[in-house]
């Protein structure tokens, strides 16, 4: 009996339960907060899912046609008919277009030079100037790619005609001279190049990185700021019991959110899920424990709720967007950012999410990521445990 008591000194389930249910009641009774803790992730998922698109389409553009010939109109139609570009009209003077580019009314304009048709029919190359708004570098890049693809195919058809006339060859023979090597491209994991399929699973990762630390940090610092933490300092509840009890409601809420987000990704956005559901569920809970742990560590340092909010926003939102592989794959990051990426749990969970959704791989391929998440959770809780003290300095 006595030995039992000794064992219970460290971890007493009933005391943990007491702390957890107190916390749970506090959360539920703050009806607005309770509602928001579910509404916020769902709203984020809807907004980002429906609107976050990296497809560069409908670029507003204009054409200055200084040649105004049959061939130049034919060339212009290659752009006008493309779904990547949104034709805003012909212009005569470049000075009219410059301010429109500055004003975001146009993203691009093309200048077809004089004698365009004459030069080409005489078998001479013609330079076509494209002016692209470079404020958003990746979109400028993509637009450049479209332009050179259109120019390439237009040149090829011109040259095929030209060479077959000049050397008396059949057009398909000319083609093997001009294009003896073809490129067969296979898009893996996302064959339709449907952006939302690749974005939706990653949103689960990003939202579960942002929302749990926020909830947790607020919950713990609230007790500090309102002074109710002195009840804990004076109670028989041990540090470990307090932390476990305090955090478990937040892990629970975030896990429910994870289910909601999964349902959205799977059924609203129709992202395919090829992996093992049980494995994914367990890995997700592990990840949620990690991100809750981030909130715990933040809350140990912050004295006011304002500080807790700012710190968790900055510590999680920026990395969630930039370093977790949502926008750019990790190998493309700079060295600094790579270090930052490897320090965060998000990157490992991204592998798990993508593996489970799009690639259909399981524990066999992903065990290192799961292991790292596990280590991460232990370190965070250890740090929280060691830094949290019931004897604060005044």
């Amino acid at each position: 009996m006595k030995r039992m008591m000794n064992m219970n000194r460290f971890i007493n389930i009933r005391r943990i339960w007491a702390v957890a249910s107190k916390e749970w009641l506090e959360i539920v009774r703050d009806r607005l907060f309770f509602a928001l803790s579910f509404i916020v992730p769902v709203v984020l998922m809807l907004l980002f899912g429906f609107g976050l698109s990296f497809d560069v389409e409908n670029l507003p553009f204009a054409i200055i046609d200084r040649d105004n010939s049959a061939l130049s109109r034919d060339y212009a139609f290659q752009y006008i008919n493309s779904r990547y570009f949104d034709f805003k009209g012909y212009a005569f003077d470049q000075r009219d277009l410059d301010p429109l580019l500055t004003d975001n009314k146009l993203r691009m304009f093309i200048v077809i030079p004089e004698h365009f048709q004459k030069q080409l029919l005489n078998g001479r190359p013609v330079t076509v100037q494209t002016h692209i708004d470079g404020t958003y570098p990746f979109r400028a890049n993509t637009a450049k790619g479209y332009v050179s693809a259109i120019n390439h195919s237009f040149s090829m058809s011109l040259m095929t005609g030209h060479f077959s006339k000049r050397y008396g060859l059949r057009p398909d023979n000319v083609q093997t001279i001009l294009q003896p090597v073809k490129l067969g491209v296979r898009y893996l994991y996302n064959q339709s190049l449907n952006s939302i399929w690749s974005v939706a699973p990653k949103l689960i990762m990003a939202i579960l990185l942002i929302s749990p630390p926020f909830l947790t940090a607020l919950g713990v610092v609230r007790e500090k700021e309102s002074g109710s933490i002195y009840n804990i300092y004076a109670s028989t509840v041990s540090r470990l019991e307090f932390l476990i009890g305090k955090l478990s409601p937040y892990v629970l809420i975030s896990s429910i959110n994870a289910v909601l987000l999964f349902v959205f990704a799977r059924f609203l956005y129709g992202a395919p899920f090829k992996g093992d559901l049980l494995f994914f569920a367990l890995a997700t809970v592990l990840y949620v424990i990690c991100t809750t742990g981030i909130g715990l560590v933040v809350s140990v340092f912050a004295k006011t709720q304002v500080a807790a909010m700012i710190v968790s926003a900055i510590v999680t939102v920026v990395p969630a967007a930039l370093y977790s592989g949502v926008i750019i794959p990790i190998p493309s990051l700079s060295e600094y950012a790579q270090v930052a990426a490897h320090l965060l749990p998000a990157m490992y969970y991204t592998q798990i999410v993508l593996g489970s959704f799009l690639k259909g791989v399981g524990l066999a391929a992903l065990w290192p990521d799961v292991l790292i998440l596990g280590i991460y959770a232990v370190i965070l809780f250890l740090a929280g445990y060691l830094l949290f003290t019931k004897r604060p300095r005044a």
Binding site: F33, P99, Q119, Q129, V181, G184, T304, V318
Partner: protein, 390 residues
């Protein structure tokens, strides 16, 4: 003894003193929260530096593995054209299955597969196909890799085909084709750091502009110190305005630090437009965004609610700012929502002033947008705030 009614001068000076004293109070409260101050400094310096330096949305050394089934001079020639800055040849492997496994793990981004008898077919004038497998879990980069790959292979094929036909590549100069000439405006070398650091700065400004006043107000409520303010001879405006003023000054100082210290000094962002205009627009924006914060503070009863409501407002604002997804790529109903995000106008105006050198004649519509949307939020916030005192 003088019992006469205080002069107008006297009333104005008392009014100003009240404002002054309360503004000082707000400053003190802010500066004494050490962790908060540390993070404000961090946000305006290191955070913007990290965002600007760490990220490249361009295809940068995409790791590529090669399956060379031909091992000929021609295949080696082609493979070696996949080189930095766009591609990085990682290694050569024997089988396609192994390549897929590497893609599965996320180690590699691309597999280039050269068929057997590649050189032989080239010399015989037969068409041959090189396979490229691209990991498109990241759509943007997947498309860029494809587009660059097509360029490389097309160029290689053209040269090989011409030389087989006994023609030098000089014939291209006497053949009708279109030569690409690009002029990339406003950012000729397409430095991602310019765009990234400016947008990050605008994001940070927005975060603080909403959160700081909201939190300051809610804290007074939660701690009960608002009761003291209520019984003091202060109008609601006098209670609210110093908060907004103090926060605005702190955020403006932070903005100046990051503009001169990080953007100009480290990333060499060429500030094209008028700095006075930039700071004027920023001040206007911070002021009007504070209205959103005050509105939040009137709904929330405690700071935790403020936090959640702020995220609920702030995240859509960033998202609808047009920095990540431009209006033309949005569904139509989203475009209407964008009109409601003051950050959208602010982003347009600031990118315009800083990178494009736009003046008031071009950004006037964005400034008007900030005034209308932000002004409406500010009035709503002030109205709800005043009502609380009745």
């Amino acid at each position: 003894m003088n019992h006469s009614i205080p002069s107008v001068d006297h009333r104005v000076s008392v009014w100003c003193r009240k404002l002054y004293v309360l503004t000082i109070k707000e400053f003190l409260q802010l500066f004494r929260d050490i962790i908060l101050m540390v993070f404000i400094v961090y946000a305006f310096t290191l955070d913007i530096y990290l965002a600007g330096s760490g990220v490249s949305l361009q295809l940068n050394q995409a790791s590529t593995v090669v399956i060379d089934n031909d091992h000929s001079a021609a295949s080696r020639e082609l493979i070696h054209r996949f080189r930095p800055p766009y591609f990085h040849l990682d290694k050569e492997i024997a089988s396609g299955r192994k390549g897929i496994a590497q893609l599965d793990k996320g180690d590699e981004m691309m597999v280039l597969d050269i068929p057997p008898r590649f050189q032989e077919k080239l010399l015989n004038g037969e068409q041959t196909t090189v396979q490229m497998q691209v990991d498109t879990t990241n759509t943007v980069l997947g498309l860029l890799a494809t587009s660059y790959g097509e360029n490389i292979v097309g160029r290689f094929g053209l040269e090989a085909g011409l030389s087989r036909a006994g023609l030098s590549s000089d014939v291209l100069n006497t053949a009708p084709n279109i030569v690409d000439a690009h002029r990339i405006w406003f950012n000729p070398n397409q430095q991602d750091s310019w765009f990234m650091s400016v947008t990050e700065m605008l994001t940070i400004i927005s975060l603080f502009a909403i959160l700081l006043p909201a939190a300051a107000m809610a804290r007074e409520k939660e701690k009960g110190t608002v009761e003291q303010l209520l019984v003091s001879p202060l109008t609601p405006f006098q209670i609210m305005f110093p908060k907004v003023l103090a926060m605005t000054l702190v955020i403006l100082a932070g903005t100046a630090v990051s503009l001169f210290g990080v953007l100009e000094l480290i990333f060499h962002v060429p500030v094209q437009g008028s700095l006075a205009l930039f700071f004027a627009v920023t001040t206007l924006y911070i002021f009007t965004s504070a209205g959103i914060g005050l509105f939040i503070a009137t709904i929330a009863r405690n700071l935790a609610q403020v936090g959640m409501l702020t995220i609920l407002v702030f995240a859509p604002m960033i998202f609808l700012s047009g920095a990540w997804t431009p209006p033309e790529a949005m569904p139509v109903w989203m475009r209407f929502l964008m009109g409601l995000s003051p950050l959208h106008y602010f982003t347009d105006a600031c990118l315009g002033i800083l990178l494009k050198g736009a003046g008031m004649s071009i950004i006037w519509d964005s400034v008007a947008g900030i005034m209308v949307v932000g002004g409406a939020a500010f009035c709503l916030g002030l109205w709800r705030f005043t009502r609380q005192f009745d």
